[in-house]
Each structure stands twice: as structure tokens, then as C-alpha cells.
């Protein structure tokens, strides 16, 4: 059984804003500018799955340049010093932070998975029987970034969940 979720785009936007304020744009000079383009191309993505009372995924996707910039901000280093591993770790943590905050707004009885990172466009990912229910889409310093929520029907609940 899966319950209706009460996390809307304004909730997601607030979470994203907190991530930017805390880690990606502490000076408040380059926020994520929403463009509402849910089909904008991305080059890398990360996700966490939520299973239990609610089943679905929270996906963070961006261009490679935006991921590199995020890693530099997270690790307080120059953009050209950022390694592939730094990018992966940062993408995983971004999905984890947003996913954890989403989970906190869901009914009790849900589990959050460890993050999964794919250095390939979000368009290569498939979430069987899941549909995108909300998202924040925009650009960060001109580079595409999106955070989306996917709701899976109960039948696709992961084994053992």
C-alpha cells in the first residue's frame, strides 16, 4: 500500500534553497534560477529511493559543469582541482540531503536508500512504473540543474521493503 504524498514544488524549492544557502551559494550571489523546463538536458545524475509507506525516487541531475562547480563548493577547492570521485561523492550527497528532507515530510514508515550516482544523463535512467510528480528545474550560473520526485506504484515496491 502506498499513501498519497504531501510534498509539493514549494516544499522542494525550500529544501533546494536551503542546500544552496548552506553549501552551494553561502554568499547568496548565485542561486538556482528556476526556468520550469523539465526537459532540459543533463549530463550526470544521482538518486535515492524511498520505500515503505511511500515508494519512489528523488533525483538530482545537472550538467557536468554544474556538478563540478557543486563539488568545488562542497569541498572548498578550485573547480579545476575537482576529481571524478569528488563529483560522484557530491552528487550522491546532494541526492541524499534532498531525499532525506523529502522523507521527513512523508508519513512514518518509509526507508531511505543509500544514494546511487550515474555519470550519464538523467534521460538514460528508467524508473519502472514510476511517474514524475514534481520537480524544480532551473539553471545555476547558466548550467542546468534539476531536482525531481518520482512516485512508484505499490506493485514496484522493492523486494524486502
Amino acid at each position: 500500500m502506498s499513501v498519497e504524498v504531501d510534498v509539493d514544488e514549494s516544499d522542494l524549492a525550500e529544501m533546494v534553497e536551503q542546500v544552496w544557502e548552506s553549501y552551494l551559494d553561502p554568499e547568496g550571489v548565485s542561486p538556482l534560477m528556476q526556468n520550469y523546463d523539465h526537459d532540459q538536458p543533463t549530463e550526470v545524475h544521482s538518486s535515492v529511493s524511498i520505500t515503505g509507506a511511500w515508494n519512489g525516487h528523488v533525483v538530482y541531475a545537472s550538467s557536468r559543469a554544474a556538478a563540478q562547480r557543486a563539488a568545488a563548493a562542497f569541498l572548498a577547492m578550485e573547480i579545476d582541482e575537482v576529481s571524478e570521485e569528488d563529483i560522484s561523492d557530491t552528487l550522491g550527497e546532494l541526492a541524499n540531503i534532498v531525499g532525506g528532507n523529502v522523507k521527513a515530510m512523508l508519513p512514518p514508515g518509509s526507508q531511505l536508500s543509500l544514494p546511487q550516482v550515474v555519470l550519464a544523463p538523467e534521460s538514460t535512467a528508467r524508473y519502472p512504473s514510476a511517474e514524475r510528480i514534481s520537480g524544480i528545474y532551473g539553471t545555476w550560473e547558466g548550467e542546468p540543474v534539476s531536482i525531481s520526485m518520482w512516485h512508484a506504484s505499490a506493485e514496484t515496491k522493492e523486494e524486502g521493503a
Binding site: 548552506s22 562542497f74 569528488d86 561523492d89 550522491g92 540531503i97 528532507n101 521527513a104 512514518p108 543509500l114
Partner: protein, 120 residues
């Protein structure tokens, strides 16, 4: 004081370290663990004064690390820095003996508020 930082995310461990410094606690001896088992082992072997732990980690979750430490008689001051914060998690943490609960994303101000009474 010795502080053990347990998080499976390397970038988050670095952010915790940096935020501790920004909050004025950079002079303490910092030790890191990359999963729950390592956190339990280092909390036992390194005798930290404080453990700052993620909740969702491979090998063993943070709450299981805390419960196992307490079951073994280890009274180290222990708390959570996690992206997840539900009432059930908070009450489970308190029941297990957690001293604090910090939600990601966090700020240096939040670290100061929580750690000033603990670290002085």
C-alpha cells in the same frame, strides 16, 4: 578533545570538519570513519570524547552504532548529523542516548549552538 566524525560520504565528512572549524572548534583532534562498523570500532578503540554520526551508513546504521556502544557500556557523548529527521528517528535517538540531532543542510551557527555547551 577528540571528535569522531562518522559519515559514508567523504564530502560530507569534509563539510562537517570545515563547519566545525568555522564554528570555532577546529583545534580539536578529529578522527573519521567511513561506515557504521568503522564508527563502532573507532569509537571503541580511539576513545573519542564526542561522536558526530550520520544515520544512514553501510555496514551498520548510526543508531545501531549508538545502541551497540551503549550495550557495551560505552558512554561516549554521541549525536547525529543527518539529512533525515522524522519524529520516530528523533525519539529512537533520544531513547538510545543521543545528545543531539542536527539536520542537513546545516550551518556553522547551528554547530555552534549544539556544540558550544559540549565542547566549551
Amino acid at each position: 578533545m577528540k571528535i569522531l566524525i562518522a559519515d559514508d560520504s567523504r564530502v560530507m565528512r569534509q563539510i562537517v570538519v570545515r563547519t566545525l572549524r568555522q564554528a570555532g572548534f577546529g583545534d580539536h583532534d578529529l578522527v573519521e570513519a567511513a561506515d557504521g562498523q568503522e564508527a563502532f570500532d573507532k569509537a571503541t578503540e580511539e576513545h573519542p570524547d564526542l561522536v558526530i554520526s550520520d544515520w544512514n551508513m553501510p555496514q551498520m546504521t548510526g543508531i545501531d552504532v549508538l545502541r551497540r556502544l551503549r550495550a557495551a557500556g560505552n558512554k561516549v557523548k554521541f549525536g547525529f548529523v543527518t539529512s533525515e529527521c522524522t519524529p520516530e528517528m528523533k525519539s529512537a535517538a533520544e531513547e538510545a542516548g543521543s545528545a543531539f540531532f542536527i539536520v542537513k543542510p546545516f550551518t556553522a551557527e547551528r554547530f555552534d549552538e549544539v556544540f558550544a555547551p559540549i565542547l566549551g
